[in-house]
């Protein structure tokens, strides 16, 4: 996987580009936690690929010294899958927002979860569309009033944690941008996990949906005795939406997509030698 290259500090992962985010944006906390996690694991920047979709959080690749792919709206997971399968030696981090991931890109999440590629997917969840100035998103609460819901949101918010557990993600966790130390630990655990690791990170939008006052009182730690291998209990915990539980909800160990791809190659090569003329012979 990632190669150690002497002592890399969080500073090493910063680029010259200054984030375009509003002062006080939760995404700064997520970025700082990412720098810390990367330094903690001594990830070699040349072997790191940060893939994103569109939205405020989509600009993240430009702020991390590595390879990056700023793709199009909602497509972070297919692109990240292609990168990882093409070169399993790369460390792949997919990032995006709640609109990018759960609305336009929602169709890709179940398939990433069940395929289980060895990459992490961080959703910076601010429950609004910040870049288009504050419309309601799939995680906005009912009643949410904004540009496209002048009379209040008539939809139910979705539950990202419950959804990902149901879809079969092999690692599901939740963090908060206002607790960067805990978040860095969580990102580290996600990166150490072998398989598809999903992190929902509450990352408030200070400009269009400032939740800095309402989130902290709802924060809770996942109980110390919670068994992360127990899927039903993890699901029950996820359904307690009156509070925002932080930590790892669920983790299981199972083969990754890339391992499956390698096995298919072995099977195919055992059946027939890898030569074009041998393949030609099948059609004469």
């Amino acid at each position: 996987m990632s190669t150690a290259v002497g002592e890399l500090t969080p500073q090493h992962y910063k680029t010259d580009e200054h984030p375009i985010w509003c002062p006080g944006c939760g995404d700064f906390g997520v970025l700082a936690s990412l720098y810390n996690a990367l330094a903690g694991l001594q990830v070699n920047p040349k072997d790191l690929v940060v893939v994103s979709g569109i939205g405020c959080s989509g600009r993240t690749p430009g702020f991390i010294k590595s390879y990056g792919f700023h793709s199009v709206h909602g497509r972070v997971l297919p692109v990240a899958l292609g990168v990882k399968v093409a070169n399993p030696a790369l460390e792949v981090i997919a990032v995006g927002g709640d609109g990018d991931g759960f609305a336009i890109g929602g169709g890709h999440i179940p398939h990433a979860a069940r395929r289980n590629p060895d990459l992490i997917y961080i959703v910076m969840d601010n429950s609004t569309y910040g870049l288009t100035k504050g419309q309601y998103s799939p995680t906005s609460p009912a009643g949410f009033q904004a540009g496209s819901t002048p009379y209040g949101n008539i939809e139910q918010p979705l539950n990202p944690i419950a959804m990902l557990i149901a879809y079969g993600a092999s690692f599901v966790g939740q963090g908060y941008s206002g607790k960067p130390k805990e978040l860095a630990d969580l990102i580290t655990r996600a990166m150490q996990h072998k398989g598809f690791a999903f992190l929902n990170v509450i990352s408030p939008c200070i400009t269009f949906y400032n939740t800095y006052k309402v989130i902290p009182p709802r924060l809770a730690e996942i109980p110390k005795d919670h068994d992360v291998a127990d899927r039903a209990k993890a699901f029950a915990l996820a359904l307690q939406t009156d509070r925002v539980a932080l930590g790892v909800f669920y983790q299981e160990s199972r083969p990754t997509f890339e391992e499956g791809v390698a096995q298919v190659m072995q099977k195919a090569q055992a059946a027939s030698p890898p030569r074009l003329d041998e393949i030609f012979a099948e059609f004469s």
Binding site: L48, Y67, G82, A86, A89, Q269, L276
Partner: protein, 585 residues
Amino acid sequence: MVDYIFRVGGEGGEGVISTGEMLTLALARAGFEIYTFRTYPAEIKGGHASYQVRASGSLLLSQGAAVDVLVAFNEEAYQKHIQDVRPGGVVIYDADSFSPPAYDSTICYGVPLTSLATEQVGIKLTKNIVALGVLAGLFDLPVATFEELLKERFGRKGETVVQKNLLALRVGIEHAKQVKRRDAIRLGAGPRKTKELVLSGNESLALGAIAAGCRFYAGYPITPATDIMEFLAKELPKVGGCVIQTEDEIAAVGAVLGASFAGKKAMTATSGPGFSVMTEMVGLAVAAELPAVIVDVQRVGPSTGMPTKTEQGDLYLACYGGHGNCPRIVMALNNVEDCFYGIMQAFNLAEQFQMPVVVLSDQYLGHRKATVPVPDPSRVPVIERRKPQGEELVGYKRYRFTPDHISPMAIPGMEGGGYVAEGLEHDEGGYPAASNHENHLRLTRKRYGKFVEVEAIANDLVRVHGEPHPEIGIIGWGSTEGVIREAVQMATAQGYSVGALHPKILYPQPLAKLREFMQGTKAVIIPEVNFTGQFATLLRKRFTVDFIQLNKCIGLPFTPKEIFDKIEEVAADVHGGRRAHAAAL
């Protein structure tokens, strides 16, 4: 010279397709050139199915015209196809199923296929093998080849099944001896002694992709492109590649772009409905300057259209699909052999110019089989993308301006090459520059600037058939090449001054070669299997020529006769002084 068309028709599931396939392989192994034509229902079970194969001692350019031998398993097949059988042609019908009317102008041989299969073989399902035996017996086809094929095809099902099928073949051959002959069709062995492959357009394309170095494929099932994915799913892992069936077509191209970014040659294949939703990713590949090959095996549109029928209706989408100023290369494949070399060229163009290449095939080409010489990949030297080296990795700029507009592309894992592949407008370094107006013009010029070199290649890749400077010119694209070529041969034999030009790259167009070809023509015909004349429309933007369109839009390919008739009509106008275009070239 042997040149016969066989057609088998019957209820789907009766073994029509396998009869056709075995006949095709047997004829190919016997040394004939073959050219199949398939039309089948969109439904899986039931419905009418037919399979046509033309066999000849020399190169075949089209599916041909009238049928010489029709095998009708039921009355429906007879009714559907009898008008295509030439007068004096042979009809072999299942006498247990129906009897054709007595006034028929064809030679009809009634064979009790069903009862021969039930009574002499003991298995009703073998009636199609009995029919093969009858064909072999009647028309002097090499029996040993059929026996070999049956052993290969049924070997895995065990010796009993093989023996039953060999018995069915013999029953058919024996029965043929009792037939009172009124026809003179005899094939024997074909003239070709060298081994050739029997490939469909889709298979040939998939093989060519492997030869070009494609090691990543992502796709979503869609008729008539699915067999490309299935072929590669079987073959690509053998050479260390992989195939992913993604959740939709957007994900397919997304994964292809991710893999290409990570250094792999990657491809997807789809048909119109899939390509429609892929266009956002075409734009991303253009903006981020990523090599990618996107194959569109066209079918009838719009929307779901006619999934199993052929059309050349996606050219506008291929050239212009997507928002913004969005240059991509569009190519079209011409015949089964060309699918192999053409897709190799597509990968080369994608790698060399770091842009998406859309490759147009169609149902007619993708699903028909032909004998092709064993491909020689060395005929298309493989090109790899330009990568940064040494000094270039110091202060590396991914989108650095260069004289040929192609910037060295770093691959993740390269020290010093880190950059962000950007869909946002960006500067040379890849940094977002969404508010820098002058920079946008520079980057747009950079992306379009590659077309200068692409157009030069496009000029090298045109093919001309018949007269190079004709009175009546024909310009075609894609799978119509063979049919046009045959029509040109027919017209030349009648004394007409005719020539045809067939570009391989349709966007950007080979303007110099087109201009040169049209100079001195009195009329230019553009035949297309679509309603509005999409290529003619593209050419009208470039040339003030009064192009004569010939459009066919019934889900079926042209026949050479249809194009020949148009040549005659146009020639009559030209010689009658009713047409002499003053082309402003």
